[in-house]
Amino acid sequence: MRASLFITCYNDTLFPETGRAVVRLLERLGVELEFRPEQTCCGQMHANTGFGCEAFAQAKRFVRLYQDSESVVIPSSSCVAMIRDQYAGLFEKYGDEELRKQLASVLPRIFELSEFITDRVGVEDVGAYFPHRVTYHASCHGLRSLHVGERPLRLLGKVRGLDLVPLANLDRCCGFGGTFSIKNSEVSSAMLETKLHDVVSTRAEYCTALDNSCLMHLGGALHRQYAGMQTIHLAGILANTEESATEKKA
């Protein structure tokens, strides 16, 4: 099975360890991964801030780049939501028939990471080992746009050694919202504080999610408050095995 990895602009720059984990994980599962260095950004930041024609430029770039890919796997539910929910509208407004056809052709081949593993590769037990107390934060786009449902929890449930603690008010936003966290910094911070209360109450060692954007928000506050809890992308947990744990110790 072959797949193209769209790493996303912020994972590429800020969270390269997530990308490395995705590569380790998927190659272990027998996926032949490729990375096209022409990729940049899906356009979500521009689209959600009101810069539609700028977002269109990036959407066009994305759709053309992956025309011949067998699958495109993306370790970020909000970027997948951008592609699934907003590209059609942008192409309606700024694009042509050719581009709309290309979009329709590529859309069914786009997968968020947990979708890719459970639906495309078809496994739930990825052979991971992570002997820690972990809570799962459901990012809004994964929950309400992609409807990933129980997929991430099923994957986590099969990780050896992992103690999964449920998070209260699972469907409540952490307050990140991209440029919302800057434009409405105070409200965003208040929402974050409400979320942190639930997250910290789990007494987990790690908080995980499908999106490093939520985790950057939660993790930034956890670090500021010396909360003693770390954030880790789902890929980071699933990539971890007994062997890699021993290697680290050695």
């Binding site: 590429d12 521009h46 307050g175 409405n184 105070e186 950057m216």
Partner: protein, 481 residues
């Protein structure tokens, strides 16, 4: 406490108004508690309906159909209502609606008027206009009465005094009704309001209402409420004036079957609201003998003309989106500077203002989508928010002064960066070098200047790693070759 500004033409920007509310811990506690209670009730009542999703689909279809044929359904309503003895007036904007209502009240020689809760009257700033004309206004909805006596403003579409707790109600009633030793027992407080209002119901001959629905087929008006105050206003006064937005029309009487079900469950978590009043024109010897309907446009036709934004008008004012919204939970309704707050307010208010005011509201959302998930008429609020953000940005493109706004500049720069991998790599390098100046020994950034300070005010940011993912991949590729 200073009175909230609820006129969108002069209200402060959302982030500024929110600051005032965020400091009010009592208000935030009241809002969080009240919305939690309503949400829990709603969740139970929705869960017991196995066909809830089909009901939503049906309700959305009815509303969308009504809007797509609004002109003909409004004319049908006018015809039927007139046949039944009502008088229909058309108001293009708020000023015209106020003038019509004022003229009608003058014809009645009215010096006092009783009101059933109507958000539309707040939209057109009716009360101040009537008071200025020497007409005393008495709100008969309990929550509206609390606000009127307390000199406060509504903060929620369904429960306008949601931000006030009963201790605060006790204080307002004791002070304004001259009642000493009043307890904060809800029954005692309600009884006090009842006694106060009963005199008005019996003595004031003119009433003003809003409308939950207008029925084209029969020319009927429907009002749903929980206290019986609407029923009183529909039986005792001589004259009734109903103010309704033109979008409130439903094609058929039987459409109420669907909409009343989804409305009650979504709004208050009840199977059926306690009082549903329906009236058609004038009935001799029963209820008001003079009946006027003022149909208000006030920007609605322009919303109707935009295909993506049009769905805004499907709203049936249940406020489920407010109750579930994590932003509203923190700020309550006053921060929105309009009688319509929360997610629906964030899309409705700027459009009613024809995008000339309230431009910060479409940005007052993290786009989490909780509102869309609960909306009984399936308004895709995040989609409309994004469409409105684009409208605001398109305005800014034409204003040279805005081009130097850091956010605007940043977005334009990012667009150039994302246009090619080479430029993106250069930007990655530049931001790593730039941010390393602010990165502490622990590898984290604790304080940033400019726009970045709005992040670091409450959160740290991990420093940018030495090696980007694409660099790692390229190095690995080389090794493997």
């Amino acid at each position: 406490m200073t009175r909230a500004v609820m006129d969108p033409t002069i209200a402060p920007p959302f982030p500024v108004a929110a600051l005032t509310v965020l400091r009010d811990t009592q208000l935030r506690k009241n809002v969080a508690h009240a919305t939690d209670v309503i949400q829990a009730k709603r969740a139970l009542l929705v869960a017991e309906k196995k066909d809830w999703q089909q009901l939503r689909t049906a309700a959305a279809a009815i509303r969308a159909h009504a809007l797509a044929n609004l002109g003909s359904y409004l004319e049908e309503f006018e015809k039927r209502c007139t046949e039944a003895g009502g008088v229909v007036h058309w108001a293009a904007d708020a000023a015209e609606a106020r003038a019509i209502i004022l003229k009608l009240l003058r014809e009645e020689n009215a010096t006092e008027v009783i009101k059933i809760k109507t958000m539309t009257s707040a939209e057109i700033q009716l009360n101040p206009a009537l008071e200025a004309a020497g007409i005393s206004v008495f709100e008969t909805d309990l929550a509206e009465l609390i606000l009127q006596l307390g000199g406060d403003e509504p903060s929620h579409i369904v429960a306008p005094a949601l931000h006030v707790n009963r201790g605060q109600v006790r204080e307002i009633f004791a002070r304004r009704m001259g009642l000493q030793n009043l307890s904060d027992d809800p029954q005692v407080l309600t009884a006090a309001a009842r006694t106060y209002l009963r005199q008005k119901f019996l003595s004031v001959p003119t009433a003003i209402s809003g409308a939950n629905f207008l029925v084209a087929e029969t020319g009927s008006v429907a009002v749903v409420e929980s206290e019986g105050n609407g029923r009183m206003c529909l039986t005792l006064p001589r004259t009734m004036i109903t103010l309704a937005g033109i979008e409130k029309v439903l094609p058929k009487f039987k459409d109420l079957e669907i909409l009343l079900q989804v409305l009650a469950r979504s709004a208050t978590g009840e199977r059926m609201n306690p009082y549903t009043s329906l009236w058609t024109g004038v009935t001799p010897g029963d209820g008001p003998q003079r009946f006027h309907v003022v149909l208000l446009d006030n920007g609605r036709s322009q919303i109707l003309a935009r295909p993506k934004e049009r769905q805004t008008l499907q709203c049936i004012r249940c406020a489920a989106c407010l109750n579930t919204c994590p932003v509203y939970r923190q700020t309550g309704g006053h921060a929105y500077g309009s009688v319509y707050g929360g997610p629906i307010g964030a899309i409705l208010t700027p459009q009613l203002m024809q995008m000339e005011h309230a431009q910060t509201l479409p940005f007052a959302s993290s786009l989490c989508g909780a509102c869309y998930a609960v909306c009984p008429v399936k308004i895709n609020i995040p989609e409309v928010l994004i469409a409105l953000r684009a409208q605001v940005v398109d305005q800014e493109r034409g204003q040279p002064a805005r081009w130097f706004d850091p956010m605007f500049l940043g977005m334009k720069a990012a667009n150039v960066i994302f246009a090619s991998a080479r430029q993106f790599r250069a930007a990655q390098w530049a931001s790593r070098v730039g941010l390393s100046l602010f990165t502490g020994k622990d590898g984290w950034i604790h304080r940033l200047p400019g726009l970045g300070a709005r992040w670091t005010v409450t959160r740290d940011l991990r420093g940018i790693p030495e090696q980007s993912f694409r660099q790692w991949w390229a190095a690995r590729d080389k090794e493997q070759m």
